[in-house]
């Protein structure tokens, strides 16, 4: 996993609430392997028409947003299924952070596993950021994970909260599994104690 430290990049607004994982990547693409890549399938049915031609009015198809690395979204972004493909599609497309008032819980967890930073800010500030991006399309947002700050196109700085453990892993680009395997003995000890008590499992 690539570490995440700082990001200063162009951002795209996606205002609708409840953008679910079926919209981020439709179920018919899920059989593919991780190594196949999912970036070209991101928002597939919102992004492409029936013949496969890009829909001109979809935000990521507009030239100014083509290099967006940040999405500024509506409430409950990533609700729905547990498919990690939703995160893979965003990441493979080039998105490194999503800013929203709230996220689907599983999507939120999945993001950290792949170096994608979800930033939750108050709904009013997120709406204001989207308005700024619509007024001056192509403008940038700067995120500093170490300092836990997000600087908008208006230069206003917001502090965001993040779980310290998730932050540490993102900064290091570290992976949970190797970290947890370091606790092998603790796990075995716990397991044995449990099995002595709950024999029927």
């Amino acid at each position: 996993m690539q570490p995440f430290r700082r990001l200063d990049a162009s951002a795209a607004p996606i205002g609708m609430p409840n953008v679910d994982t079926d919209q981020i990547i439709p179920a018919r693409f899920l059989w593919r392997k991780r190594s196949d890549g999912f970036g070209h399938l991101l928002f597939h049915d919102l992004r492409f028409g029936d013949g496969g031609a890009p829909k001109p009015d979809f935000v990521l198809n507009r030239d100014v947003y083509r290099n967006a690395r940040i999405l500024v979204a509506g409430r409950n972004f990533g609700c729905g299924s547990s498919r990690e493909h939703a995160v893979w599609a965003l990441y493979d497309y080039g998105i490194r952070a999503v800013v929203a008032p709230s996220f689907g819980d599983i999507f939120f967890n999945n993001s950290f596993q792949n170096g994608l930073l979800p930033v939750a800010l108050p709904a009013e500030r997120v709406a204001a950021l989207r308005a700024l991006l619509e007024q001056s399309p192509g403008s940038s947002i700067a995120i500093d994970l170490e300092a836990q700050t997000l600087t908008g196109p208006d230069r206003a700085v917001d502090r965001f909260e993040i779980d310290p453990f998730r932050k540490e892993c993102l900064l290091a680009g570290a992976d949970d599994i190797s970290f947890t395997l370091g606790y092998r003995d603790r796990i075995a000890e716990f397991e044995n104690a449990c099995e002595a008590k709950v024999r029927w499992l």
Binding site: C79, S82, D105, I106, L201
Partner: protein
């Protein structure tokens, strides 16, 4: 744990292997279910040269990609779909997991077979790479969905890093009216608290209406906790739970059963336990519900009308109603009972158990569907039970297709799709844009309501259907 605690607190603290100062907790996982969407997680493991730590606690079944026309593997004629089912069976065999494979009568939707086999028990932590894992909470377990990386983590370590969610209690007191089922209750809850209403919380469902419900109804309620935004849903184990589990293949036996009972009985939330949030509903006020939009929170009583965006409080809300109505091709003010449908799907991990099929069959008995319709039992054993009761004959006489078990048209990954522009009355759990197929329009409802829709060709109020005694 000191002080009064909730069911959720008790299960959480008894599974915490270690807690870091920052609150990150390493949780032990009792049961892990894997399905045919787990290929990437197994590959991740292989790439690192890691083995499955506890094959004896890991159970596999193919459900998303299986054909519902036949459970002969060769009948999956699309190579990539057949490939993922074969891959699951091969992974399960190689790792020594218990597999309820395609040729096994016990195969079915993972969230149907866990409870059915007695694998899902009170006090457990249960995970699966599928958001509707919340279903198993109906047995008094803490059960939640995880992503592919987390599936790999559980396979390798039998643990997960989590931060403790908050406690929420939804209390439903009173008696449900005739024709109102568990599905109506959970849709009414989501309509009230919103699709993000439970974000960051684990919901405990309580109150006299929940206590009066059987396990299958509780499974339906817990199943859609995720549509309310919650991490998990649960119901405290009680005599109903114990009676349901008794004698199931993987339930404890003999002296173990007595020890298990004593443990399970201690799990309920303490009387003075604190919840971060409480919501109350009056069961008697819940009507049969349907959704009109593209989020489960757009549920309304069947007696209502399609809302008017113009009367929405704010611009964002107006915009989202307009979008939903455009996709659903509905006009503001239309009575919901005037919406004509093109097909009916009865199935999914929300509503494919025997009681669901019975409720639908009761409405269908002696009547005929006027649109294409299909019934897909949740497991091979549910199907066998339904056939033993003669329900299959009622479905078939009513013009329904009677299929083999699987996820089917809930998500269409096996090819059971709703055609673009078609309107489907569905007992599944998600009405998202494109969920049942590109351009498909979904209305969520209970099995009884779906049966009523099948025979009228419109969304219909099941309370107006006299039923045979």
């Amino acid at each position: 744990m000191s002080g009064p605690s909730t069911l959720f607190d008790k299960i959480w603290s008894s599974h915490a292997i270690l807690v870091r100062p920052d609150g990150a907790t390493l949780l032990y996982v009792d049961r892990h279910f894997v399905h045919d969407g787990s290929g990437n997680a197994f590959r991740m493991l292989k790439e690192r040269g890691l083995a499955v730590r506890r094959p004896d606690r890991t159970f596999a079944t193919p459900d998303h990609y299986v054909s519902t026309l036949s459970h002969d593997l060769a009948s999956i004629n699309e190579p990539h779909r057949r490939g993922v089912v074969e891959e699951l069976e091969a992974n399960a065999k190689a790792a020594g997991l218990t597999l309820f494979g395609l040729s096994d009568r016990r195969q079915g939707i993972v969230h149907v077979i866990g409870p059915e086999q007695g694998l899902s028990q009170p006090g457990m932590i249960i995970v699966c790479g599928d958001s509707h894992t919340a279903t198993h909470g109906a047995l008094g377990a803490l059960a939640f969905g995880i992503g592919a990386s987390e599936v790999g983590h559980v396979l390798a370590t039998q643990t997960l890093w989590q931060r403790k969610p908050r406690n929420m209690r939804i209390v439903i007191d009173g008696t449900l009216a005739q024709g109102v089922h568990a599905k109506d209750v959970i849709l009414a809850i989501i309509a009230q608290i919103g699709a993000a209403g439970g974000v960051g919380h684990v919901i405990e469902y309580a109150g006299s209406a929940i206590r009066a419900m059987g396990i299958e109804a509780r499974l339906t309620i817990c199943n859609m906790s995720i549509e309310a935004g919650a991490r998990a849903g649960m119901v405290a184990p009680d005599d109903t739970t114990f009676a349901y589990l008794h004698g199931r293949p993987y339930a404890p036996k003999g002296a173990d059963w007595d020890a298990a009972l004593a443990h399970w009985a201690s799990l309920a939330s303490d009387a003075d336990a604190r919840f971060d949030r409480e919501v109350h509903l009056d069961a008697a006020e819940i009507a049969p519900m349907v959704t009109w939009g593209t989020s489960p929170e757009t549920a309304a009583p069947i007696t209502a009308r399609v809302p008017d965006p113009a009367s929405a409080g704010d611009a964002a809300r107006r915009d989202s109603i307009e979008r939903a109505l455009a996709y659903m091709d509905l006009r503001p003010g239309t009575p919901l009972t005037e919406i004509a449908i093109d097909r009916v799907f009865i199935g999914s991990c929300t509503n494919s158990r025997i009681e669901d099929l019975r409720a639908a069959a009761k409405v269908l008995d002696g009547r005929r569907a006027v649109v294409p319709a299909m019934a897909v039992p949740g497991s091979g054993l549910v199907k066998a039970q339904a056939e033993a009761e003669g329900l299959d004959a009622i479905f078939k006489r009513a013009g329904f297709e009677w299929r083999e078990s699987g996820c089917s048209m809930c998500v269409g990954m096996n090819g059971d799709l709703v055609a673009p522009g078609e309107r489907c009355a569905s007992t599944s759990n998600r009405n998202f844009v494109g969920r049942q197929g590109k351009g498909a329009r979904t209305h969520l409802m209970s099995p009884a309501m779906a049966a009523a829709a099948a025979v009228t060709g419109k969304l219909a109020d099941v309370r107006q259907f006299p039923m045979r005694p």
